[in-house]
């Protein structure tokens, strides 16, 4: 074997081991660069426009509601997100269980009805709902935003929970029935706890998508402001640094909640394993 082929074999081995971590790591960096930027500029002594660095200050963090209307829009977004998440999670979970566990005559149509909203761009979903609301003369506002968000979150919930239901062994419920559990008890004490991680993941995804939505909201919001809409409108005359504070804080809170939940779950699993 010549030195050349040995060298290339070594190179290949190094590449094989490190190529994926390298690209993957760079991808995470790519994902996080603008968030680091948003975070850094939340400390900018910005004044009216937060475009150039003017010096470090904690004022924006001390007074996150300092800019007009920013906290109102955040409150709206949280309210819409929470309501739409609860509605979509309940409706979507029920559909997911129904579709996996039961046979229907119109199975294909049902699956299509779940798939279509996912295969429709937001601008079309927003435009068609707006056309509908205009045609029936509905007043645009928080109510129409919640309806719109629930509608597009349902499909995401169904898809996420369906995978979890499909991976469950239906014999577990039969075992519960053999042990004289009523169907309700079997569901509530066996199936539901096993589905819970999938339901929680679906709810988190629904909330994240609702909280971050701009296009559908823009079509159906009337004069109501959400946080993304506030930022978009503000972008033309300069986004206040308080928006950066809220964006950063929401990111950190979401991170802490989920990681905290995971540590708790890992600890519980360890405890159970010890038993």
């Amino acid at each position: 074997m010549s030195a050349g082929t040995a060298g290339s074999a070594l190179l290949r081995q190094v590449l094989g081991r490190w190529l994926i971590p390298l690209i993957g790591g760079m991808a995470f960096l790519f994902l996080l660069v603008p968030i680091a930027y948003v975070f850094a500029f939340s400390f900018n002594d910005a004044g009216r426009t937060n475009l150039t660095w003017r010096g470090f200050t904690l004022d924006n963090w001390r007074n996150p509601c300092g800019a007009p209307a920013v906290c109102e829009s955040l409150a709206n977004s949280l309210q819409i997100g929470a309501t739409a998440t609860v509605l979509a999670t309940i409706l979507g979970t029920a559909i997911a269980i129904g579709l996996v566990r039961y046979r229907f005559r119109f199975n294909a149509t049902a699956n299509m009805l779940i798939f279509l909203p996912l295969a429709t761009p937001e601008v079309v979903l927003g435009a068609s709902l707006l056309a509908q609301f205009l045609n029936v003369g509905a007043e645009l506002g928080m109510g129409t935003i919640i309806i719109a968000h629930t509608m597009f979150c349902i499909s995401f919930v169904v898809v996420t929970v369906k995978a979890r239901v499909a991976s469950l062994d239906p014999q577990l419920e039969q075992a519960a029935a053999d042990l004289y559990a009523t169907p309700f008890q079997a569901f509530w004490r066996v199936t539901f706890p096993l589905l819970l991680p999938g339901i929680v993941a679906a709810a988190l995804l629904a909330f994240a998508i609702s909280f971050d939505d701009f296009i559908i909201t823009n079509f159906n919001s009337g004069s109501a402001d959400t946080f993304p809409k506030f930022v978009y409108v503000a972008a033309t005359r300069g986004i206040p640094a308080q928006a950066n504070v809220i964006g950063s804080a929401m990111f950190i809170i979401a991170l802490l909640i989920v990681i905290g939940g995971q540590i708790l779950a890992a600890r519980r699993a360890k405890l159970l394993a010890a038993l």
């Binding site: 968030i35 409706l91 629930t150 993304p228 964006g247």
Partner: protein
């Protein structure tokens, strides 16, 4: 085991079998109860609005009517008008979305592979990285896109470095280019590519990769013949969930492009609705966009032939 199997032949069990049939019937009614509320919601707020959109797309403006006043009609010329006016934006949207989807696949697959396969067993690290993929949603994608705009701005750091090393001519710029818009699309929809691939690779049996290695296949061959084909459902779901929203997006082209050469179809629909107040024209464009994407999706799914798409 045999003993248990023998016992199952007792008449009592037959009795239970009959019970099971009747309970299965009752259960199917439960099935309808489960899916009905959600489907009624979707019928009211997805299916019906699409028909509303179709009806509106054929409305006509009566002579002398106020702005925003239209009358029901079957004016099919709305379609030919908007298509002849805006077909370049249509083609551009699909082109941008296609390039962004390929880029997101090239970035998102290794990302998903790293978390799902390479880090298998490190549950906490896996969890943290997974959260990092979703958590950017909470910063608001408009805030993040605006951040990109400032990072890539003419007076920003990236342009300065690229000009210094002559990768960019002295008057070259990154914002207001097609390149910037495609980068923005890739960035914004990367989580929608990564998550479905992750969900698929998470279930990948790594012993299959070991088997490939044992049979003297190079890592590249193993990947091409084992890992990739098994992960195709995830890849198809990811590419669809990236391409569809990217084709309709207009935030990236508005913030990172914002000139004639980067206008996408979503921007046109938005401005027809809210600035021109041409509801029929905007509805016609939306409807064509929906049909075009559905057509492409069906072709794509047929071509790569997975039945269980999502």
């Amino acid at each position: 085991m045999a003993l248990l199997a023998g016992e199952r032949k007792s008449p009592v069990i037959h009795q239970r079998g009959a019970d099971e049939i009747s309970s299965a019937k009752r259960r199917s009614r439960i099935g309808y109860l489960l899916i009905l509320p959600g489907f009624i919601f979707l019928l009211l707020f997805f299916v019906l609005p699409v028909f509303s959109l179709l009806a509106t797309s054929l409305y006509t403006k009566p002579p002398g009517a106020d702005i925003g006043q239209f009358a029901p009609a079957l004016q099919f010329s709305n379609y030919t008008d908007v298509l002849s006016g805006y077909w370049p934006e249509f083609l551009r949207s699909f082109g941008f979305a296609l390039v962004a989807t390929v880029a997101a696949l090239l970035i998102g697959y290794p990302m998903a592979y790293l978390v799902a396969v390479r880090l298998r067993g490190h549950a906490l690290l896996q969890g943290i990285l997974l959260v990092l993929i979703i958590a950017p949603f909470f910063t608001s994608f408009i805030l993040r896109t605006q951040a990109w705009k400032q990072i890539l701005a003419d007076e920003g750091p990236v342009v300065a470095v690229l000009r210094a090393v002559s990768l960019l001519p002295p008057d070259g710029r990154l914002t207001a280019t097609a390149f910037a818009v495609v980068c923005g699309l890739t960035y914004n929809f990367l989580p929608f590519m990564t998550l479905p691939i992750y969900a698929n690779l998470e279930r990948l049996d790594t012993r299959l990769i070991e088997a490939g290695n044992d049979l003297y296949a190079s890592p590249a061959t193993t990947f091409r013949t084992v890992t990739l084909p098994l992960s195709m459902p995830g890849v198809i779901a990811g590419t669809l969930l990236t391409f569809i929203p990217a084709a309709g997006d207009y935030i990236n082209s508005a913030l990172l492009g914002n000139n004639q050469d980067t206008t996408m179809i979503g921007q046109v629909i938005d401005s027809l609705f809210f600035r021109v107040v041409d509801y029929p024209g905007a509805s016609a464009l939306s409807f064509v966009l929906m049909l075009a994407i559905l057509f492409l999706v069906i072709l794509y799914v047929r071509r790569f032939g997975t039945k269980e798409i999502l």
